[in-house]
Amino acid sequence: MNFPILSSLILLPSIGALFLFFTKSDKKNNFTGKYVALFTSAVNFFLSIYLWILFDPTTSEFQFVEERIWIKDLINYKVGVDGISILFILLTTFITPLCIISVNNSIKERLSEFLIAVLIMESFMIGVFCSLDLVIFYLFFEAGLIPMFLIIGIWGGARRVYSAFKFFLYTLLGSVLMLVAIITIYWLNGTTDVVELYNSGIDIKYQNLLWLAFFSSFAVKTPMWPVHTWLPDAHVEAPTAGSVLLAAILLKMAGYGFIRFSLGLFPAASEIFTPLIYTLSVIAIIFTSFIALMQEDMKKLIAYSSVAHMGYVTLGIFTIQQQGIEGSIIQMISHGLVSAALFLCVGVVYDRMHSRLINTYGGIVSIIPKYSILFMLFTLAALGLPGTSGFVGEFLILMGAFKDNFLVAVIASLGVIIGAAYMLWLYKRVVFGKLINTDLKQMFDLNRSELFILSCLAVPTLFFGFYPDPLINTIEVSISDLIDQYNFKLASKI
C-alpha cells in the first residue's frame, strides 16, 4: 500500500476549497465554483467507494494505516480504517455531493464561501472517522465547529446568531473535558495511539473519570437528553444543506466515538455506566418522541426525532451485543440517509412557500405528487417500516436490548409506536387533507436536481432495507472482535 488513500480523502476536499478560494466570485463564476466543489466531492466519493472495494472485511485489524511523525516524541499522525469507521467515511462522502447539489435553490448569497465551508467540513469529518490517535481525533472533532458555526451563523434563519452560539458553546464545553482526559491518558500510558492503547489498556483506577470526560463530549454531540437542546435550535436555523450535514454526519461522530473510545478504551467503566446510558437513552426515546409529537415546525419535529433515533443508537451500543452494536451502526447510516432526505424534503417546500410551519401546508398531494411519494418513502423509513434501512437498524438494536435488559427493551419498543405516530401525523397534516391555503396551488413539483438528490437517497434506503448484507459483512468481524476484546479486558480486569 503506497498510495496514501486516507490522507487523500482528507486532503482532497480542502484542496478543492483552496481552489474555490482563489476563484473570483461574481455571478458567473459562482456557477463554476459549484462545479469545482461538486467535482471534488464526487471524486472523493468514488475514492471512498474504491476504498470500500479494497477493504478486507474478514479482519478486524486497521487497514490502510498511515503513520507519520507529527510532533516529535509526542504525537504521530496516524490514520486507518476498520469495519466500524469505513461506513461512516462512505456516508460522509456520499452526503456531501448531495448537499452541494442542493444549494442551488436555498443559498442565494456568498455561494462560494458556503461551498468552501462545506468542503472543509467534509475534510474534518473524514478525519474524525479515520484518525487513530486521540489528539488527531480531537483536532478534527473540534475543528468541525468552525465551519458549522459559520454555516449556521451566516446562512441561517432569523434566530441564527443565538443558535450558532448555542451550538458552538455547548459542544466546546463538552469537548474541553475530553481534552483533559486525552492528556491524562497520555500521561498515564505515554502514548495517544489508539491501537497501542487498545493493546495495553488503561489503568482501571482512572477509567471512570476518563469515561465521564469522554461522555461529556459525546453526550452533547450525540445529543443525549438532557443536553440535546442545542440541536433543535441549530437545525431550525441552519440552511437546508447545513441541517443535512449536521443530522447526517455530525451527530454520527459521537456514536462512532462511543464505540471506538468508550467501549474500546474503558470497558470497566462502560460496564459501570451502562445503566446511566440506558436511562438517558430511554428517556430520550420516549420523552423527545412526545415532544416531537407536539411540534408545529417541521424542521423542529425532525430534529427531535433525530434525538429519539440517536437514543436508540446509544442504547444499542451499550448493550455490548453483536446485534445491538451492528444495529446501532446501521441505524446511524440509515438515519444519516433518511434524516438528510427529510431535511431536504422540508427544504423543498420551504424554498417554495418560505414556511416551515406544518399548518401552512395540507392537501399538497395532488399538486406535487412526485414530492409526496418520495416524502412518504422517507417518512416510512424514519418510523422503521420493514423494507427500509430504518427497520433493520431498529430491529437489531431491540434484539440486542432484549438479550441484555428486558425492561429497557420493552420501553424502547414502545418508542417505536410514538415514532410512527408523529411521523405519520406529520405526513398526514402536510400532504393529505383539504387544500385550505390557496397559495399552495402555485407550488411546482420537484425539479431535476431535487428529484436526483432524493432518488439518490431513496435507493440506498430501500436497498439496504431489503438487503443489509453488504453493511453487515463490512462491520461484522470488527464488532465481534471488539466485543471479544471488551469481555476479555473485563474478565482480566484491565
Binding site: 510532533i71 452560539f165 500521561w187
Partner: protein, 472 residues
Amino acid sequence: MENLQLVLPEIFLSLSIMFLLILGVFKKNSSRLVQSLSLAVLIVTAVITFNETIGINETKLFNNSIVIDYLSSLMKIITLLAAFLVLIISSNYLKTFQIFKIEYPILILSSVLGMMVMINSNDLIIFYMGLELQSLALYVLATFNRDQIKSSEAGLKYFVLSALSSGLLLYGCSLIYGFSGSTNFNVIADQLNSNEYALTFGIVFILVGLAFKISAVPFHMWAPDVYEGSPTSVTLFFTMVPKIAALTVFIRFLYVPFLNLIDQWQMILIFLSIASMLFGAIAAIGQTNLKRLVAYSSIGHVGYALAGVAAGTNDGIQSSVIYITIYILMNLGLFSCLLMLKRDNNYYEKIDDLSGLSKNHPMLALSLLIILFSLAGIPPLAGFFAKFYVFKAVIEQSMYFLAIVGLLSTVVAAFYYLRLIKIMYFDEQKEKYDTDHGFWLKFSLTASTLLILIYFIFPSQLIEVVSRINII
C-alpha cells in the same frame, strides 16, 4: 577580563540609542531616518545575539550578576523581533496622528534595552535596574499622543500604579536581602533557609510587583485603562513585548533562587493563573471597546502562560515560552487588523465598527476570523497548540483543578471572540474602510495569519527551539 562579547548586544544597543538620540537632535526632520536606523539596529542586535550567545553554555558575568544562557538568548531574540514588528507597523498610525517623531523609536529601543537587562539579570539589583529602564520608557510611550486627554491619563495612571508596584517590589528585594545576605540569585539559593518566613514575604512582594507588570489578576486594574488610552501602536507594544521579559524574570526568579520553596510560591502562581484566566474571560464579555477587550483577553492569556510556570517543571517552562510566542504572533495579527480599521484619517476601535466587515473587506475579515478562533484556542489553529502544551505540562503534575478551570474558562472566552466574529460576519455592513495600508501592515497581517493557519503542519519546529531551555 570578562568576556564582553557576550554582552555585545546590550552594548551595541545602548551605543546605538545614544547615537540615534544625538542624530535626531542635530538633524532636522530626521524622524524617518531615525525610524529606519532603529529598525536596522533591532535587526543587527538580534543577529548579534543569535551569533554570539545562542549556542553557548550557561555563563555568568560581572560577579555572577548577569547570566547568559539559552533561555535569555532566545527571549532576547523574541523581544527584539517583536519590537521590530511593532515599530514597523506603527509608522502609518503615528503619521496619521502627527506624532511620527524621533522619540518614538528611541523610546522603544530604550525599553527594549531595559528588557534585555531584565532577561539577563541574575541579581535583584540588575533586575530592578532593567525593570525601571523599561518602565520609564513605557510611561512616556503611553502618553505619546500628548494632545489627547485619554493618552495623558493613561500614562499618568500607569506611572502612579507602576511606581507603587515598583515600591512593593523593592520592599520585597530588601526583605530577601536582609534575610539571605545577598542579592545574587545563586547566593540566595545557597543561603536559603526554608523556615524563614520573611523570605516568603519577600517572594510574595516581588511576585506582586511582577504580576503587576504582566497584568495578572488581581493586579490588572491598570491594564484596561492604559491599553484603551494609549495610542494603538503603543498598546500593541504593551500587550506583546514587556510580557516576554516579565515572564522570563518570573521563570528565572522562581526557579533559580527559590526552587526549594516551590510549595510556597506554587499556590500563589496557581491562584494568579486561575484568577487571570477566569477574570480575563468573564470581564471581556461586557466590553464595547476593542482595545479594552484586547486588554482583558491579554489578562486571560497571561493566566495561561503562568499556568505553565506554575507546573514547576522544565516542560512547564517550555510550554509557557511556546505560549507567549504564539500569543505574540496572534496579537500581532489582531493589532494589524485594528490598525486597518481606518477611514478618513480616523481610527475606529469600537466593536460595532467591525459590523459587516466580511462583506466590505472579505480578506481582512477572514484573517481576523482565523486569528480570533486561534485566540479562542480552537484546533487546528496555533492557539490550540499553545494551550495544549501548557495543559499537558500542568496535567503531568496532576494539577487537574488548574487544567479544568483553565479549559472551562476557554469556553467562556470563546463567547466574546465569537461575538466579534458574529459582528463581522452576521451583522449588516457599514461604510467601507480605507484600503491603502502600507506594505508592512499587510505583510504582518498576512504573515501572522498564515503562520497561525499552517502551524499545525510543522508543530515540531517550535518545540525543538524551546526544548533546549533547561533551567532546573
